[in-house]
Point group: none
């Protein structure tokens, strides 16, 4: 066993990555070719569990128990049965005396949407111009492969760490985080965590949470020819939309965190769905609005809900119609817990250092505009979590989703070195 | 055979109505209990055809031929097949030498809407406080029963007319008039026509036409967490709704017809349906608006269309987004041809006289705020048509729709006497 300088370790890790580019690319291709949408994650998890076993990690494989989870206050999912949707966790035990880390990535992908908008099959895994294409390439199978490559490099180079490395491949991130919740409930915890969601290699110590809401706006029906005898729920819903815009302005005016310096609306309230009326010649008596309310990293979901409800009550000050017909607000479907880690947290420092040394430039450190399972790990799991990954934020959930392969390997190198410095190097075999 | 004075005839008709109140009410109840929404008119038509046969009219029963109608420039319907949706016409031949009349009523009703807003079942036919409740009671089964009672009184009293009375129970009025069009195409014509749509016993020599439009408003999708990277089609649709409000103001400012003196918006533009987006966490890229554009009695449908299209082009002056993404306007589904009959037309005078004599007050003569099949009869069918009926304009298309039973019988008396004076009395049997 010999001591190694940082420069030597960087060199070793980089060489290992160069030698495993083809293998890593093929593995990502295999993962992307499995359409692991909600309920169809099993096949992809088999691939990942096999890989973890090959790296000689202790593998834990289980289907989350919907009945137990449903009773949990942080459980949000459109489903309560997870048969065929297993979580996979691989543990690389350290030699002791070091800090542990959870490396978490989700295996579920959002549906491909309209196939006509894809140039190739949505699950092609096609490689072209240094990019790999397909649903999930960026969000977030590319990031997951970075994690596996990082652990692979440690194993391949015979580097033994002091702290434990816990690799989690979870289901259900895209629908509210029940997979990560199940891992927390099972007892997985560490001194810190990293999730390689698509951040364009930016580092996010904080992340926006979000909740879905539904608002029913009332009108009063009438024949369209005497529309002045009715009250249009469409016109009333315009007032509600504008009222929500004002709430968004107020909430964002209160945010001064420098991590949001380049974000025009740190915690947006998006109205994604509008639906009302059923007959062109009738004044519509109901309009339904559905949307997503962003929640600040340090805010609690319940506080944000309260603020929305109080704000909606003030509609009556603008229009007495709402006095007798207050819009009904309902919280439904998915919710993502926000998360906040001190930007000076030591895992942040360690990662930023590797970034600087490898890229020879300052990393961008920001607050993420969307939630990840990191909020659950930080708030509930007692494991401060940061987000950093190779995927491209702008193409997540889009047709022709892709990832730059160079970034997958670059991130893998940074993560491997971060593991070494965070968990501590015990020595090198052989 | 004996000559009868007007006063005697009024007395005879009134007595006959008094004797047939229970029977007439029961018949209306039976009609209202049949939910004869579009495509489901058959059962109600069976009831009416049976009644016409009982009154010894020659009954014509046919399902309109969609293929033939589709080629007709006045055909507007969301469907092209009318299987199960028959028209019924009953002809009471006159003895000759008199003026003929078409009595036209539609049997289709609009859907009941949100059942929670109904105190009773929407098709209860419940009688309470002199009112009969249920979808279609006012629009326009009550009026249809007035027609049948008027003819029934003539038959029951043995009064023989010179001119023909043609009773038409048509389908599809609520969706563009294909039922009445089919009757016109089949050759039915008369010297004048009366439609007992719900006018609150006001007399309408003129009527608003209308057309359905659909507007597709474009946005650009993005993730809700970075909604500022997209363009919300919901926000753009608000601009379109407000732009349409301005067009409505301009069009109505130009209307000075004294028949509209008491109407706050003579030719309204109603937006009845809004629908956009499909995911709470996404910025919606499309919103569809559907509505009804009122057309002035003397205006041509094509003129109104042109004005709307020109106006929509001006959206770009308010927001450059619409320059590159002009909302697409489509005319679809139902259209009602406007109609205008001289307020001094002799049928107007005959009816107004009966009204005065029975009610001992001046009738209200106005322009109707909505279209009826009368526009088709007047403009296409060569049969000047006026509108007058017992239903309550304000409750048509509403929850808890109802009609005042007294008005059904009062209208029936006025119509019976109008028939006598318009068609001419040949004599009395027995």
């Amino acid at each position: 066993m010999a001591a190694h300088s940082n420069a030597e370790l960087r060199q070793l890790v980089h060489q290992w990555m160069e030698l495993h580019r083809e293998e890593g690319t093929r593995f990502l291709q295999s993962l992307v070719r499995i359409p692991s949408t909600q309920g169809n994650e099993r096949e992809a998890q088999v691939l990942i569990a096999d890989q973890l076993r090959e790296l000689e990690l202790d593998v834990d494989w289980w289907e989350p128990d919907g009945e137990t989870l449903e009773a949990h206050p942080f459980f949000y999912s459109p489903r309560s049965r997870f048969a065929g949707s297993p979580n996979v966790v691989g543990v690389l035990k350290g030699t002791g005396g070091g800090r542990s880390i959870i490396l978490n990535g989700h295996v579920d992908v959002v549906p491909e949407g309209n196939r006509d908008q894809w140039r190739d099959d949505p699950y092609s895994g096609k490689v072209e111009g240094g990019k790999l294409f397909g649903r999930g390439a960026t969000d977030m199978k590319g990031g997951n492969v970075s994690l596996l490559l990082a652990v692979g490099a440690l194993r391949g180079l015979g580097l033994k760490l002091k702290g434990d490395v816990i690799v989690q491949s979870v289901v259900e991130e895209e629908s509210g985080g029940a997979g990560t919740l199940a891992a927390i409930v099972k007892g997985y915890q560490a001194d810190a965590a990293l999730i390689p969601e698509p951040t364009n290699l930016r580092i996010f110590p904080k992340q926006q949470g979000s909740m879905w809401f539904r608002i029913e706006v009332k009108g009063r029906s009438a024949h369209g020819g005497t529309r002045y005898e009715g009250v249009s729920a469409i016109e009333k819903s315009i007032a509600v939309v504008q009222h929500i815009r004002e709430l968004e302005e107020r909430r964002n005016a209160g945010i001064s965190d420098p991590l949001y310096a380049h974000n025009p609306i740190p915690i947006p309230i998006n109205i994604g769905v509008i639906q009302g009326g059923n007959w062109p010649s009738s004044v519509p008596d109901t309009v339904k609005l559905e949307g997503r309310m962003g929640v600040a990293p340090e805010e609690r979901l319940e506080e944000a809900k309260e603020e929305m409800l109080r704000w909606m009550e003030r509609l009556r000050e603008k229009d007495s119609w709402f006095e007798a017909h207050p819009p009904a607000v309902e919280w439904f479907g998915a919710r993502w817990v926000p998360g906040s880690v001190d930007p000076e947290h030591e895992l942040m420092q360690v990662l930023a250092r590797q970034y600087r040394e490898i890229r020879q430039e300052e990393p961008v450190i920001e607050a993420s505009p969307w939630g990840t399972d990191g909020g659950l790990l930080t708030q509930l799991g007692g494991t401060p979590c940061i987000v950093f990954g190779p995927g491209i934020t702008q193409v997540a959930h889009y047709p022709n989703e892709h990832i730059v392969l160079d970034h997958v390997f670059e991130a893998a190198e940074m993560i491997a070195l971060t593991l070494i410095h965070w968990c501590g190097l015990n020595g090198m075999e052989g």
